[in-house]
Assembly symmetry: C2
Amino acid sequence: MKNNNILAVDAMGGDFGPSVVVPGALQAAKQCGAKILFVGLEDKIQEVLDTLPDDLKAVDYSIVHASQVVEMNEKPSDILRQKKDSSIQVACRLVKDGEAHAVISAGHSGACVACGMFIIGRISGVERPCLATIMPSKTTPRLLLDVGANVECKPYHLFQFALMGAAFAKDILEYEEPRVGILSIGEEEGKGTSTVKEAYDLLKVAQHLNFVGNVEGRDIFIGDVDVVVCDGFVGNIALKLSEGLAFSLTHVLKKELTGNGLLPKIGAFLAKKAFLKFKKKIDYAEYGGAPLLGLKGISFVCHGSSNKRAIESAVLMANTYIEKDTHNKLLNSLKENEELTSFARSV
Amino acid sequence: MKNNNILAVDAMGGDFGPSVVVPGALQAAKQCGAKILFVGLEDKIQEVLDTLPDDLKAVDYSIVHASQVVEMNEKPSDILRQKKDSSIQVACRLVKDGEAHAVISAGHSGACVACGMFIIGRISGVERPCLATIMPSKTTPRLLLDVGANVECKPYHLFQFALMGAAFAKDILEYEEPRVGILSIGEEEGKGTSTVKEAYDLLKVAQHLNFVGNVEGRDIFIGDVDVVVCDGFVGNIALKLSEGLAFSLTHVLKKELTGNGLLPKIGAFLAKKAFLKFKKKIDYAEYGGAPLLGLKGISFVCHGSSNKRAIESAVLMANTYIEKDTHNKLLNSLKENEELTSFARSV
């Protein structure tokens, strides 16, 4: 069961810090056999460990002390310059120095991106790493990227997001020939911003990519597409809008189901069961972290509000990513399209 | 009950054409007392009228023949040039010539925008008219604009969308001091694209505007905001994504509620009632058409898949818009901020 993978987990990240990160990561380690390095304030981590049952701690783990804590309102550039001993910086350095194979953090996502770019470093030829998130749908999950690492993108950035997203979806989501679409406001070629149109032209001639053209907003959930590419501004709005709408609809429907005065107890009972299943189906926690693609090392960023289950999922996905050597698949896909990317960058 | 408002209704628009447009508009006329001018193929409109009960037809209406029909795959510019006798062009000319006070169409939305801009014409000082849509939420409905008329926007376009959206929300949605936000990827000032940041600076100093700053994707449904401003690319994706997600979630939850084998008949019964109420709450048809703001005349664009209820709502809203003289409130708000707009345009 035990494997040789070493995962650096930012224990201080997220709304709940070590209290959910530590048990979540241990639970994952128990399942996959990887070694966990908890990075953060040693005493805080130990405090949580002391409360946990022994069987959960019967895995390979250790603590790497990091004295500084990142606040959510700090600027990524300030964190990078001034918080050299923060948990996210220390965790990224472990990856850079080869002491860990991947970093997982539910902390400040801007800091995760900045530390990923400037400490772990970018893959040669990749200007912009991007955050990819797995969106649940009526049928199979879809990958949406970028969801916030890059506010303004050039066509060849979107092109590389598509290449990396497809490689990830193929390997990790196990889609044989993932259908890749670019997010726009009409299915026909020629719809959208000038950036989208230029990226479309590149994607059309990409090597080994199943490009299906433009897709619309609704297709993220109900269209014939597996990987949806957009810039980080649009992607972040799409992601947060989905969270808000799912929350809002669930609330409205729950109220209707349980509060109508007609057999309310049976209604509430049935609704509770249905909502639990429903929640599992649409729950982001099931998919855990968003991979930060385009770095020399492996990094997963989790939602700030991650619960234990989300941390566990992210750690398991990072482990799978290492086991399957997904990183090299990404490199290959980028390499096969190197000339095209260089050409696009030069025009 | 009868009033002096004359509404030009594009009878050929939408997925279902006159079969839903004609009864929907008559139903609205019955309620509000406006006169309806049905524009389109006379025989097709008459055919539908012949099937309708007399009491529905006991309103003031007439038919204005238009010999050409617009196909959904035609380019707006081609429609404008080559289909001078299409129902949307003829209806817009009725408004331009003062023979109707407003046009309502569920047809090709690109054609509605193009004909609105080039036949009805823009308000002096408004470069870009925009489409505003009413989004249902957990609490009160919100106005989102632009949802597709302008793919790429300058900061002062967004600024004018905000002014017009606020005037509309105040008058039609009856919000005393509508809270106006600009859609971005973080609440803090300084987050977002350069266009968003520049628009933010303008909105901060706008006259008579309750600007609340940046809002995020989730705020469209659950945030403290009434009017959400964005460019037409982002807005269109947000709108269609919401439709796709609402459809997808409803599907998943319905399946869970009715198919779990536990008291399935009671579950199905309770679910059906809840879903009907739920549908009413989130149904876009309840709000009907999207106003095209910034034109010299009044234009409402309906969803292509509009049902009778949606057409009825749009016609009623157009009538209210005339009655309340909302158009002049828009003009006032634009005028109060004229200098600021001119300044922004010149830099």
